[in-house]
Assembly symmetry: C2
Homo-oligomer: 335 residues x 2
Amino acid sequence: MIIGIDVESGEKPFQELVQGVIDSSQSRKNIEFVIVGNSKNIKKSFPKLDSISSIGIVHADEIVYMDEKPVFAVNRKRNCTVNVGIKLLREGKIDAFFSPGNTGATVVSSVINLGLIETIKKPALATFFPRVKDGETLILDVGANPDANVENLWQNAIMGLSYYRLVCNKKEPTVGLLNMGGESEKGSILLKKAFVQLSKLNNFIGNVEGYNVFNGSVDVVVCNGFTGNAILKIAEATKRYFLEIIDELKEKKSSSFFRKLIFSHLEKVIFSNEKLIKKILPRFFGAAPILGIKGLVMVGHGACSKSDLINAIDFASFLFEKDYLNSIIDGIKKS
Amino acid sequence: MIIGIDVESGEKPFQELVQGVIDSSQSRKNIEFVIVGNSKNIKKSFPKLDSISSIGIVHADEIVYMDEKPVFAVNRKRNCTVNVGIKLLREGKIDAFFSPGNTGATVVSSVINLGLIETIKKPALATFFPRVKDGETLILDVGANPDANVENLWQNAIMGLSYYRLVCNKKEPTVGLLNMGGESEKGSILLKKAFVQLSKLNNFIGNVEGYNVFNGSVDVVVCNGFTGNAILKIAEATKRYFLEIIDELKEKKSSSFFRKLIFSHLEKVIFSNEKLIKKILPRFFGAAPILGIKGLVMVGHGACSKSDLINAIDFASFLFEKDYLNSIIDGIKKS
């Protein structure tokens, strides 16, 4: 496969992401790479890049900054990295495109340049949350469409189920509607209507809440993009908060030698434990495809590092080999 | 002051909460208590209750269960604990009322029996989140009004600021709008309009996200009740998740004697540290007044324990002594 990488619009300097592509290319012989960015600067920083046959560069003049209005920027900056990359995808010159930049701009450019899958009204972003026991829980939408109506929530459920089947290899995943309580009559008028609509799915288990996300009682959680975005960010902030107070405690002056000893080793133990790291950082952390558009476009965290990029590349390759787009389209057709 | 306690509609047996009232009465000589519940059963379990002069009982026949529809239940079960307690408050027989039961029912009964403060359109529930450094962050609404319009968000900001001033003793707290990014043009049409409206407040600092809640960069966070409820629950679930994986790690069979030693002491160290407990359980955890109604009605967690109840009583007493209701009304008048 050929994957396009926007190395310019993340928060890290392009050098870090180009290095990620180079590192990735050394062990992934079945992947070709197209770096999208300022070709002059990239060649200056990496004079030997030309000698790597599996890596090409496509020039893009501009980037969309994080604080720009997506629709406005994508239309004005015709030759920005996301537009250039997504057009390469449209033309079949690449098979997948990844950008760690302004998510809204990537979504808008994808909808404009690739279009939505037939019958789909809005794109959606899905994120995996870790669980206490095995597996992951998928939440969507986490920000592509802030105001979801009943049809959008229904389509998110359908796409989420297909995506979950594909990634987690589970034949009949369950789906739940995020609500303010488990009872069917909870929430706003829209949520009550969505509950009725989703009840048409055999896989629907009803309303779910925060604790269901972590305990494995549901596989796919459907919600509007505003709330999904808020819970994703508060969960990340809570995790960071917890690590920080343990840190603070560790550094705290203490009269107890034993306590000092415990905390001096605590961090090392936690972070040397592979299982725990897997749990804190769920699989495919840092990259998610934009569901509902006609192509494999993946968005990453703005702070995407070299190793995050390598993960994103592996995930894109995994999805491509699993025939991601046709699986999503098939799921929609059958619904 | 006189405080009414609904001992029946929480998840714990009434005996636990009656015992909480008794324990509280022994050290809080300035408070009188009115227990609301099934008087026959209560007297049977606590035959010596009559001898405590500061505790009275008012009989209520029924309770609203957690899974009942609030409006329906409050109207049908005329003599349920929340209706009885809130009517005592309306008649001036008590100064505050606390219920750990169905939150929706307590909100509905409050609106019906006490009414909303002049100009206020919807009630709101506010919860304090802990911070890494000192202080707390207030989030509202966390569930009283799922679909907030611009006016509701504005009124939540006004009430939240008054409430924060009162509780945290800070003259000029800041207020932010929960959104999908810091930039002013983010989010739905409603959020963009709310941003413009909130900009009229000197205390408004703009859009905020999950991490702002914990880092102290904002004091009062305004959002709709559906999203507020979701982030409250996901934050609690993330905290529990983190404690569980540490627990799991601790119990894990390990070849390292030293690692076993660390984890056998870890929990003890964490939970014996007063500062950390304060941080994990923020002040006034487990009880929040329903802002916007004409009276001091406090809701608690369904799982409210004896010690949670004692905290709730102390918090109600603190609010009453600070002239809570008039402070909120004054704040609204000045806005």
